[in-house]
């Protein structure tokens, strides 16, 4: 709840973000239309599904923090200033606290920067919606899991600051991978086979490609269970690693500043 309120305070910033997501939604939708016009059913999508992909991907950018930031910068900043010492005294786990905060942030970004551009997209284009409530619920679950995967990555990255202080290098590598291998740049279904194989081995597709495939599953006939399983496996891996690393960080941390 605190995370939700913290981000909902900045309304102008939110509106600006909604506007930008919508502009990009329009541009990218037209590029996909041009592509699928020439190659209908490319990658198993039809034109409407591809356009839906463009809009839902825009809607997910902020909730799953494709461009990074949030938890990462804060953890790193607190290491640099020494505030990290206080975090380690708190009666709740650092991971649990940050996760709760980030879910609040994600929920806010989903409602504001996710729902509004999608509605606008629905006004301008023919979007494909889930046929049944069951699929809609699974898509919602998949989106929540996408936010948790994204949190897991950002938390690990932030924890790195306990060891190397300046995490800009690794941070950029993760952001670049997130942009390219999540499906945000282009749906992974149009990737050449070798690149698709690489993308499938990485956690980034949990953030955009998988939730959208679940969203579209009624009309594309994609099996949902394996997709959700992939997300769950990555959540377990990332959060377990996060918890273990937190333990090590507590033991070895050298608090900066005074």
């Amino acid at each position: 709840m605190r995370g939700f309120r913290r981000y909902s305070t900045y309304r102008a910033a939110t509106l600006a973000g909604v506007f930008t997501n919508s502009v990009f939604g329009v541009i990218i939708a037209y590029t996909y239309i041009a592509l699928w016009d020439v190659r209908p059913s490319l990658g198993g999508y039809d034109i409407d599904q591809a356009v839906t992909f463009a809009w839902i991907a825009q809607a997910l950018i902020a909730p799953v923090a494709i461009f990074g930031g949030f938890v990462v910068d804060e953890l790193a900043e607190r290491v640099r200033t020494g505030a990290a010492a206080i975090d380690l005294h708190r009666p709740v786990s650092l991971l649990g606290l940050r996760l709760a905060e980030d879910l609040g942030r994600g929920a806010y970004h989903l409602i504001s920067r996710g729902v509004i551009p999608t509605l606008l997209g629905a006004l301008l284009f023919d979007l494909v919606w889930p046929d049944t409530l069951g699929t809609a619920a699974l898509a919602a679950l998949s989106i929540v899991m996408a936010i948790v995967v994204s949190f897991g990555l950002r938390y690990l990255l932030g924890l790195l600051a306990y060891w190397i202080i300046d995490i800009q290098g690794p941070q950029w590598i993760v952001v670049l991978s997130q942009i390219f291998f999540s499906g945000m740049m282009l749906p992974l279904v149009v990737f050449p086979a070798w690149l698709r194989t690489i993308a499938d081995l990485l956690p980034f597709r949990c953030m955009i490609q998988i939730p959208i495939d679940v969203f579209l599953s009624d009309s594309t006939g994609t099996a949902v269970a394996p997709l959700l399983a992939v997300q769950l496996v990555w959540i377990v891996i990332l959060l377990t690693a996060g918890a273990a690393l937190t333990q090590i960080a507590v033991r070895k941390v050298v608090v900066q500043g005074g």
């Binding site: 900045y10 102008a12 910033a13 509106l15 600006a16 973000g17 506007f19 930008t20 502009v23 990009f24 329009v26 541009i27 990218i28 037209y30 590029t31 239309i33 041009a34 592509l35 020439v38 190659r39 490319l42 800009q168 290098g169 950029w172 952001v175 670049l176 942009i179 390219f180 740049m185 282009l186 149009v190 990737f191 050449p192 690149l195």
Partner: protein
């Protein structure tokens, strides 16, 4: 004007020296910029693995449009891209300090925290441009060379004006940096593709309202020797300088109004 240029060079120079002090960091940041901006082209390459032509244009032709737009945005981003941060400066009160210093506020806004790493985008665009020029078939004339070089300069000026307008807008709208992103990075994304893939209204919008089509589309058509698919007047293909001048005047006016209307947050 000379004073403004000198002020810019002095302030920006200090930031360049600061950036170059940590050489490894600097090299990495430039490489990151090159890679991140190249990802857009990688997406186009992947699209072309399924197509022979996109919106009626071949890959080398699109590469030329892509590079012209990328260069223009890159140059503008390097020179005045920091105007995006005006919202933050207004919030923390540091814009007040700029207003009392003896250098024009626009120069300070642009030059403060001057980020030389942004040459990465320009380098990437020039790389794609080189490839495009080597692989595209153009019947080169002096006119085409002049239009190409002129468009890259005018395009940079047009994007500079967009950045400045975005900064000025934040005086009224508060922390709305992302609105200008829609026109700068959004405009760049839009013009990376041939405008034939968009509806006519959108093409008219980027011709008559925000003249982004003059960055690469109209001059690009002339350089490539393609008739305007929308049938707009052919003199548009030489009109980039006019569009640039008109838009700069509009941006300067808007900036002046914004600075005059500025109320400090008082912090």
């Amino acid at each position: 004007m000379v004073d403004a240029a000198r002020g810019f060079v002095v302030i920006a120079g200090a930031w360049v020296r600061a950036a170059l002090t940590y050489r490894t960091s600097f090299v990495i940041m430039v490489l990151v910029q090159v890679v991140i901006t190249f990802l857009d082209f990688a997406a186009i390459l992947i699209m072309f693995s399924h197509l022979d032509a996109f919106g009626g244009f071949t890959l080398p032709q699109i590469a030329l449009l892509f590079a012209m737009s990328g260069f223009a945005l890159g140059a503008a981003d390097l020179l005045v891209g920091n105007s995006e941060a005006l919202g933050r400066r207004i919030r923390d009160g540091s814009f007040d300090q700029m207003l009392v210093r003896p250098v024009a506020p626009i120069v300070q806004v642009a030059a403060d925290r001057f980020a030389i790493r942004r040459v990465g985008r320009i380098a990437q665009a020039l790389g794609v441009l080189t490839w495009a020029l080597l692989s595209v078939s153009i019947d080169w004339t002096v006119g085409r060379v002049v239009v190409l070089v002129g468009a890259m300069l005018c395009g940079s000026v047009i994007f500079c004006a967009v950045f400045v307008m975005g900064g000025a807008f934040q005086v009224f709208a508060g922390d709305a940096a992302e609105v200008s992103n829609a026109f700068t990075y959004g405009g760049n994304t839009l013009t990376q593709y041939p405008l034939t893939i968009y509806p006519t209204e959108l093409v008219k919008g980027v011709t008559f309202i925000v003249p982004l089509a003059f960055v690469n589309w109209y001059p690009g058509l002339y350089v490539l020797g393609i008739d305007d698919p929308f049938g707009l007047p052919s003199w548009f293909q030489f009109a980039s300088p006019i569009a640039a001048v008109v838009f700069v005047v509009a941006a300067a006016t808007f900036w002046r109004i914004a600075v005059r209307h500025y109320r400090s947050t008082g912090s």
